[in-house]
Symmetry: C2
């Protein structure tokens, strides 16, 4: 960069002969400055290297143009897709997204929330960690900011906007499908610390009851670190196979990552899960993880509409920005899942 560096608007204003406040207005919205000044400023900017200081601008503006997003895990393509759709929606609306990951640690989640408050973000979107989270963190955000909870939610939290999949619908859909085309499925669950995992488990049981079948739930004990979903599915199913159980049943997994582990367990035991093998083992998941079309066999699942969830969360936040403090009622968006029938069930 051979261009001389200029660090403040003051210097810039001296360099190109336009007053500093005019420059300030130019950088916020060039149309608020007269045609002639715009040209003078633009000619000037070509000569030097200057960008307004991020902190100084944000500190004084009423609105920071920033949205804070917290997700629980990073190493999960479901959340990265969600994040991607949020970032794109926010970018389109002219907002900057600041992402923080809780890394499965409630303490980090709490710190991230405090950071957002101290940054005066315009709003926050949070996908909560689960049972171990401090609910006060969410209440605090909700009380002080436009706030939307996403993906999963604690049952006890009142008056918080929510956007996520309609799990009774989505899990009901695949449960019904599995029952229709083969033996009724058992449910390969997870330790009951994740709100969605619990919702899906309940939805499975409700649908089974409705259809007149006996629900069977396995895998609620933690045998692996919580976020190693594949390892969990593998361990639970391997264990059952070793005992000679469920070798020719249907298995509905709480999510696709668990299902991928389950597929491995099945293959390890010489089984080939698939819809075509009437009466044989079938395995299905939930989410439509991006790798589902590439597993062997390809994985039957229910797709969450990730793009719509992210977009809706941002849209709802934007609504709240406009509504200011006209205290509205709680808004809950439940989005339908879509059956993705592939080879595994």
């Amino acid at each position: 960069m051979s261009k001389p560096e200029i660090h403040t608007m003051e210097e810039l204003s001296a360099a190109i002969g336009v007053s500093r406040p005019t420059l300030s207005r130019y950088f916020q919205d060039p149309t608020k400055v007269s045609r002639s000044s715009v040209e003078r400023i633009q000619r000037g900017l070509e000569q030097v290297d200057y960008t307004p200081n991020f902190f100084a601008t944000r500190m004084n503006r009423k609105t920071t143009g920033m949205i804070g997003v917290i997700i629980p895990y990073l190493n999960d393509l479901f959340f990265t897709r969600l994040l991607e759709s949020i970032e794109k929606a926010a970018m389109t609306a002219g907002y900057t997204v600041i992402t923080q990951c809780s890394h499965s640690d409630p303490e980090i989640e709490k710190r991230a929330a405090e950071t957002f408050l101290s940054m005066n973000v315009d709003g926050a979107i949070v996908a909560p960690l689960g049972d171990e989270s401090d609910l006060k963190v969410y209440e605090r955000l909700n009380a002080r900011l436009p706030f939307v909870m996403m993906d999963s939610r604690p049952g006890t939290l009142a008056n918080v906007d929510f956007v996520g999949t309609d799990h009774p619908q989505s899990t009901g859909l695949i449960t019904e499908y599995l029952c229709r085309v083969g033996p009724p499925p058992i449910f390969l669950a997870m330790p009951r610390v994740n709100f969605n995992a619990m919702e899906r488990e309940r939805a499975y049981i409700a649908k089974m009851d409705e259809l007149g079948f006996d629900p069977v739930v396995v895998g609620t004990e933690a045998v692996q670190p919580l976020w190693h979903f594949e390892a969990h599915g593998l361990a639970v199913l391997s264990d059952l196979f070793a005992k000679g159980q469920f070798l020719t049943s249907s298995v509905l997994c709480v999510n696709d990552r668990v299902a991928i582990g389950a597929l491995r367990a099945a293959t390890d035991h010489g089984l080939e899960p698939g819809a075509l093998r009437k009466g044989g083992l079938r395995i299905a998941g939930h989410d439509d993880y991006p790798l589902c079309p590439y597993t062997t066999p390809t994985l039957t699942t229910v797709a969450q509409n990730v793009a719509l969830i992210g977009q809706t969360a941002v849209d709802r936040l934007l609504e709240k920005f406009r509504a200011e403090n006209k205290s509205e009622n709680q808004v809950v968006h439940l989005i339908d899942g879509t059956l993705k029938i592939r080879q595994s069930a």
Copy 2:
């Protein structure tokens, strides 16, 4: 929140009877304030709800305590693992990580770099997009900040620190392995826009030459959107199978995601890739994607030491912080890959 909210240090200082500068020093480092003041302040903080303003603190400090990180894709577990290791290393060192994703768009990558400059981050770590990136963006960052490039690098960029896998070593390792235990592999490449993809391709050719085999490279034409690696592997290999080629060869894929697509192609064509099938099709990848132990067959690959790469990148940045402007020479850390022998080859 029944606690009264306090928005400025000024108010807080009035509320608990300690001068504002003392509070300022307390929040930066409590040991710089006398024992008695610390107690007064802590008692006061229990009564009210206050956090120092993020922007105001950052604007005035010489050092912002922030590290900017840019990664090219989000929907890739390799990068999320890298990000995770960076965040943990940075957190341990007391730094806050601000992450931006380029979403495969050089324009976004450029904006992210500008944002970091305007935020006065203490340093930046960038995993570049590839051939389409504007190299001036990296030069600009390197000239103005402690800067480390990570994962892959443009060949033409001089005097920039780098941390990444030693691809001649890692790719050489698996090429040699494949040649040793079976027929010499063809290389399932990618369009030549990704620096690492090119490095691995060259490393494969070099090793094949060294071993006296004829290198064969396929898949350099783009048939899918660039970042759909699995779809690329599937499409390229399916195409070749349809023409009756390479049905019983070995295939070294440029990375594991491509290999996962290749596995699917093989299975679709009734083939069962595996090391045990002497003379039959074998498929291997590169990276040790977290799902490799769960694919069918489990995927043989070379692991990149993600944790070490992330840690080293942060460490190097910290070194540069201390070194100030004592212009040191360029430092390049090349980290060995490790062979992960599984079922597929």
